[in-house]
């Protein structure tokens, strides 16, 4: 019987994976960068609480070893198993707490072991993304109260609360540490969680998404973009546009949406960028003409770091970043640079 407990979810997971296991572009993009060993991959792994590290870490070995579709299917099975093995217990408890009230919750979380399991699940859920903030917060807040209900945990309240809170505290601590080391800002991954962004994301539901816009719909007054184009078409159009300007152009595709766009891209002109530092880019790519390709800020795209750092960049550009052209939901900007010493010398020679 105990084997069936695991076998049935595994079979179900497999059926679900084969039916619905399509590769997630962003996850695949992050894994592609990680496998390539790029700084962007490291930044993407830890740089956003919306694209949290654990799903990427689970997906990575499959992405490394299998084709995208197989990787997605296997990762779906792994996630399903992970859900059955850990999270389902927590969710059952939470349903008990929130729907049926504390009395039933107490009966479900009826032993200290369940308390520890719930706490560990909360930490694992946190590493899966901020989408689970409500159940995590609920778990952490309710833990001490639940601890008071059980005789064993009540007598040793401090120990059980420490056991309950530690996994989440540790997960947050390590995540912040990684952010400090990789991105130079301990709370970089949480910076997009702002009331303003959340309100805008809510409003976005009233505006059609790029993929919902039909062929004959036109740009609106607020410069909302045309319908979204297939990634390959966007990239080839951008490449042609840049080639027309200069043979030495480099396009930085911004954020997690950029990783999705660049999945499978082979053109070296395009580089993903997670943490936009224009001055650094100018320094690192001295002598090249630099371009930025930004996704339309819509719903999840609003959490890209470029938008909480430069909220008006998509509409207005920046002091040295000027609008060039729209490509579906993507907008191309050029970074205006002063000529380098070498260029001035070269021009002087002429």
């Amino acid at each position: 019987m105990s084997k069936l407990r695991y076998l049935i979810p595994l079979v179900l997971g497999y059926i679900l994976a084969v039916r619905y296991g399509v590769p997630d572009g962003t996850l695949a993009g992050i894994c592609q960068e990680l496998i390539a060993g790029s700084t962007q991959g490291r930044q993407a792994l830890v740089g956003s609480c919306w694209h949290a590290p654990l799903p990427t870490l689970i997906y990575l070995p499959f992405a490394w070893l299998c084709s995208p579709t197989t990787a997605a299917q296997l990762a779906a099975i792994a996630l399903w198993w992970f859900y059955v093995a850990t999270v389902s217990g927590l969710l059952t408890g939470l349903v008990g707490w929130s729907i049926c009230g504390m009395k039933v919750g107490k009966r479900i979380i009826n032993s200290p072991t369940h308390l520890v399991k719930a706490a560990s699940c909360a930490a694992l859920l946190l590493l899966c993304g901020i989408y689970f903030l409500v159940p995590i917060a609920l778990t952490l807040v309710l833990l001490p109260f639940v601890a008071l209900f059980h005789e064993e945990t009540r007598r040793r309240f401090f120990a059980w609360v420490l056991l309950g809170w530690l996994p989440t505290l540790y997960a947050v601590g390590v995540w912040m540490l990684m952010n400090m080391l990789v991105l130079g800002d301990a709370i970089f991954c949480f910076r997009s969680v702002r009331m303003e962004t959340l309100m805008q994301m809510r409003q976005d539901r009233e505006v059609p998404a790029p993929w919902e816009i039909s062929d004959h719909q036109v740009v609106d007054a607020d410069h909302q973009p045309l319908r979204d184009l297939p990634p390959a078409e966007i990239l080839s159009n951008v490449a042609a546009c840049v080639q027309a300007e200069t043979p030495y152009g480099r396009v930085f595709v911004e954020g997690y949406e950029g990783l999705r766009l660049l999945e499978g891209n082979q053109n070296p002109m395009f580089t993903s960028n997670m943490d936009l530092h224009i001055a650094d880019l100018k320094y690192a790519y001295k002598g090249q003409r630099l371009f930025l390709l930004l996704p339309r800020p819509y719903f999840l795209t609003r959490i890209e770091s470029v938008y909480w750092r430069y909220p008006k960049i998509y509409k207005l550009g920046l002091e040295r970043v000027i609008f060039l052209k729209d490509f579906g939901a993507w907008r191309l900007f050029e970074v205006v640079q002063a000529p380098t010493r070498e260029q001035l010398d070269e021009w002087g020679d002429r």
């Binding site: 990680l34 060993g37 401090f158 056991l163 530690l166 996994p167 540790y170 390590v174 080391l181």
Partner: protein, 466 residues
């Protein structure tokens, strides 16, 4: 007439299973090749070699972390340990209890003799069924004098161990084994305080378990846990090892590296196993593996023997050095013929063996290298350091950082909690400092393994009264 016991029986009859020769010729050659290959790789292709080494170590770390998860899951199982209540024992009476032999090897510990004598005398087991031997070295006059001054209860006796090489505890135990009269046999250290009903519980556990179970391991813990931070860390470690890890292994039917004391044996099976390896400085761990190799098994018993934690830095380092040296010895002894070992243990237990015995040594030796690298990354952030961690390796490293380290710290807290020693939990949060001490002794053990493989650095105890 009783034949003269051979305390080196294993080394004489099965030298391939004894640490009398620490390394075989091919092991030496293989080690030389490994060292030579590593040096050459780092000389000619330093970056590639470093990347490969880091990748291999990271994969091993991940496997060890997942293994820890697996063991913890096993520890929660109801079949992890035998549990008997007072009522269970009462229900056995009246009955005929078998003779139980108790071996107490001692060396220069006259001050602890009254304590262990009292503990054993007060054990809840029929006096005429106890067969207690104090194994004293013939030239240890102080302890012999102390023993002579004490009035020994019936069934208690002193067995003199003639001085000969090697002067180790297992050699003394082998002589004790030869003179043991009991159906079952247990070993206690001089400073041990077993729970009073432990012998009865052990008998009941043997009777309840299949014929193949020849050893029952009791839990060990410390009565002086609160003495200082070292004793607190040590207690947290023991709580994890005996209350979670070993029961978890028992639930998985894995080979169990035995603890130094409070392991109860079927005497006949122990004789068939030729006792302990007198040349191995962790003879207990080695015996646990040999039990597995002969197709027998070990189970855990939920009863505690209270010991004295070594709570001074240098004695602790020396004790740990001996243990880790013993693990290295044991690993090399049984890996003399890996295919034979695989055949004897089976694949699953072979993996258990590698992770348990090899894993302990590996992590002690490799941890400091990674800690230093992490500290350099934290504080200096050298340019180009990321080249050492190609993407997938970085991701695996992140996995270890997020889950691996946490699991090891959290398990310490769980161990304290399971032992109901909540006061130690805050100290357990700082166990990485304790791990640093373990790594220091690990390197010390590694060097000593080549320079003085049979040196037994004895742990000095102060006794409960002090």
């Amino acid at each position: 007439m009783i034949p003269e016991p051979d305390p080196l029986e294993l080394a004489h009859k099965r030298p391939d299973w004894s640490a009398v020769k620490p390394l075989t010729l091919w092991q030496k050659l293989l080690m030389l090749c490994f060292v030579g290959g590593t040096v050459a790789a780092f000389y000619y292709r330093p970056m590639k070699a470093a990347q490969l080494a880091i990748a291999i170590c990271t994969v091993i770390y991940i496997i060890v972390t997942l293994y820890k998860f697996l063991i913890l899951r096993g520890a929660a199982s109801s079949r992890a340990s035998f549990r008997f209540t007072e009522e269970d024992i009462q229900a056995q009476e009246p009955r005929e209890w078998p003779i139980f032999s108790v071996l107490v090897p001692m060396y220069k510990e006259p001050e602890t003799l009254p304590q262990i004598l009292k503990s054993l005398d007060e054990m809840d087991y029929p006096r005429d069924r106890k067969d207690v031997q104090f194994l004293l070295e013939a030239d240890d006059e102080a302890t012999l004098d102390a023993a002579a001054r004490l009035v020994m209860p019936p069934g208690f006796r002193v067995t003199r161990i003639p001085p000969s090489f090697p002067r180790t505890k297992p050699k003394a135990c082998n002589i004790g084994l030869a003179y043991a009269r009991g159906k079952y046999l247990v070993i206690y250290d001089a400073e041990d305080m077993p729970e009073k009903d432990q012998l009865k519980k052990a008998v009941m556990a043997f009777e309840k378990s299949p014929e193949s179970v020849v050893c029952i391991q009791s839990c060990l813990n410390f009565y002086n846990a609160g003495q200082n931070i070292l004793s607190k860390w040590f207690t947290a470690e023991y709580s994890v090892w005996y209350d979670l890890q070993l029961p978890g292994l028992a639930a998985l039917h894995a080979v169990i590296p035995l603890g130094g004391t409070s392991n109860h044996f079927k005497t006949a099976a122990l004789r068939e196993l030729m006792g302990w390896d007198a040349y191995n400085v962790t003879e207990d761990c080695d015996l646990g593996i040999r039990i597995g190799r002969l197709g027998y098994s070990t189970r855990m018993l939920d009863t505690t023997t209270w010991e004295e934690a070594c709570c001074r830095f240098w004695p602790w380092i020396k004790q740990r050095t001996r243990w880790q040296k013993g693990y290295i010895q044991t690993w090399f002894v049984h890996m003399r013929n890996p295919f034979r070992l695989l055949h004897d243990l089976g694949l699953i237990n072979f993996i258990h063996y590698q992770l348990l015995v090899g894993g302990v040594v590996f992590s002690a030796l490799v941890n400091p290298i990674f800690w230093i690298m992490t500290l350099i990354w934290f504080f200096v952030q050298p340019v180009g350091a990321d080249v050492l961690f190609p993407g997938p390796v970085f991701a695996m490293g992140a996995f270890c950082l997020f889950l691996g380290n946490f699991v090891f710290i959290y398990v310490n807290l769980l161990g304290c909690c399971a032992r109901k020693r909540d006061g130690l939990m805050l100290c357990a949060l700082f166990s990485p400092l304790y791990w640093a001490m373990m790594s220091y002794s690990g390197w010390r053990a590694f060097i000593q393994f080549f320079r003085a493989p049979f040196v037994w650095e004895k742990t000095t105890h102060q006794g409960k009264s002090s």
